[in-house]
Subunit: 395 residues, 2 copies
Amino acid sequence: MVKIAILGYGTVGSGVYEILKKNPPSIAKKAGDSIEIKYILDIREFDGHPEKHLFTKNFDDILNDDEVSIVVEVMGGLEPAYSFSKSALLKGKSVVTSNKELVATHGTELIRLAKEHDANYFFEASVGGGIPIIRPLNQCLTANEIDEVHGILNGTTNFILTKMFEEGATFESSLREAQSLGYAERNPEADVEGHDACRKTAILASLATGKFVDYHDIPTEGITKISTADVFFAGKIGYVIKLIGSAEVGPDGKVQAIVAPRLVSKDSQLADVNGVFNAILVHGDSLGDVMFYGRGAGKLPTASAVVADVIDAAKHIHINKWVIWSEAEGDIMQNPGECVYRYFVRTSNKALAENLPGVDVIGTLEGETVFTTGEMKEKDFMQTAGGKCAYIRIL
Amino acid sequence: MVKIAILGYGTVGSGVYEILKKNPPSIAKKAGDSIEIKYILDIREFDGHPEKHLFTKNFDDILNDDEVSIVVEVMGGLEPAYSFSKSALLKGKSVVTSNKELVATHGTELIRLAKEHDANYFFEASVGGGIPIIRPLNQCLTANEIDEVHGILNGTTNFILTKMFEEGATFESSLREAQSLGYAERNPEADVEGHDACRKTAILASLATGKFVDYHDIPTEGITKISTADVFFAGKIGYVIKLIGSAEVGPDGKVQAIVAPRLVSKDSQLADVNGVFNAILVHGDSLGDVMFYGRGAGKLPTASAVVADVIDAAKHIHINKWVIWSEAEGDIMQNPGECVYRYFVRTSNKALAENLPGVDVIGTLEGETVFTTGEMKEKDFMQTAGGKCAYIRIL
């Protein structure tokens, strides 16, 4: 029997409990041993819970219990999740997490600690909810050099952008609908400003390159400035607008990473990913394109990814499974100004089109001209057009 | 150093050689040890090969060399692939394969032998070419009961159907184009009659249910009878036609599996999978839908899946990794006559529409009426309409 503790009984934590209690024989068969929840840590009271005896407010109960071999950290946030995870790993307990912020911030150290203490630090649920992406990158695509990852990594913003496209709705009204449906928080900043997608992009970039990519180094723009005019003109030339987290490895080995709204051709598989769904498109040198699609959030999808990691951890008690991710040596990031894009531009400054290369005018609306440019470096675009227009990079 | 042998130096075998020679330090880093090809078995001569000393025609050279710990079987066909794989496993060597026919026929036995001899039998490349699907089903989705798998599993037929849809071309001319581009064999039967998709469906069904599903028990229809009229009328009501391999587990635990052309709603993610691409849509009870998309065939995509398995096998020398797949107890297959579908029907027999439930007429063309039916059991449909019409099941 493998005994585990769940840290945090919120949405994901209660989903983990539910899945483990639903069909224990099936879980036991897959894990090669039965899995028992011995503790649930939460600061709140759960007096009505059918197993209220499992609850504790004291992490030391868990840390000092040698019977507990797997700790499920689904608290979110950096502290106390970081301290708890670290001390569990130092004791040789495996840690399974859905905490993207913690993985993006301290992943390198926690992966190393797991290795040093014959334990595992698994984080499949930190990106893409229930979509298997971490393990495929880490195990299935190992014969490839991954040179590009592009993902729709945030369901809230994708729901909003889909509404704007399908119904011509404004950003504000689409956001309100997302909030009323429970897809967006009352304070939607982490989603709509791209912070959530940024942390996930950092995790994917680290796995794809094998080197830690710090999320602070990833330029991040949200979708709050996307207008119905952008949506209309993008559609007119065969594009949709998606919030894309991307990481590309250039021929010089430098990583070009960015989170921003992008014009995506309707021919791309990513263009068909609508509503709260997520998708991650990976390009490998031998493989070409492969895409992973599914629900990127939600209680049971995310919890099912956590439980799959628990099952894998249970099959590897005291056996470290290798993770392709180590400390970067030197600066591996491309200077954002050197990155090359085509731009979609909307401006009332008529002269601008004459000063940019490869301009292709799409139309005009209410005194604004809308056009696309040819390829140019970000620093050159910013020098000429910065502050004079609304723009979206083209994928 | 881990020493391996490659059995069969055809398209996939030479791709495996190429990938392993391309970037040995990267492979060694991921495998935790360097990987050396010690033998290549092929009955043909390869005198111009830069490493012609690796070639042998005698499998016993490999079998009796204790240094060889992994055998890569990429010969295809049942024999001698089966005998070679079996004897390698009996000696405790791991076997990695892309051979769908062998996995679908003798997978249960070979998986069991691997387990009994502390070795592994890995077959990621047998389904979906380079698309990671076997390992996700086996490791990532373990917290789910998988109740549905639907796949576009054959690139040749998907190329032909895409041509028919996009250009209104006939089956025959699309097949000729596929042949001239090298996507279809001169004898295309295994592809166009659905046999290739059938074996892959059996493998997916076995992994999804955890029980061996014999491909002989899967009703299989090809795409040779699909007409331009079918394509036209399906498009008119918002559907495309795809060759789908599917397995569903009913509430009674019985497996309903079939390979057949299906009308697929344009709203489905599968409808956007075009040309030689493959995709597999999996439904889990906790997860909802998740889809895997990519190149289902081709030298380097398939070889990269083989090499990823070699890397995994190298990390698990003498450690058996568990595969969710065992002998079925009793008959687990649903009687095909009991399966329920809606049908798309094209017929010159005007009375037929009056004898079928829920008929919705789409149109008429050259004396034929085209309509869809409501849901009905296959046996009831066949009794009323069998032999009197052309039909396609609706997904």
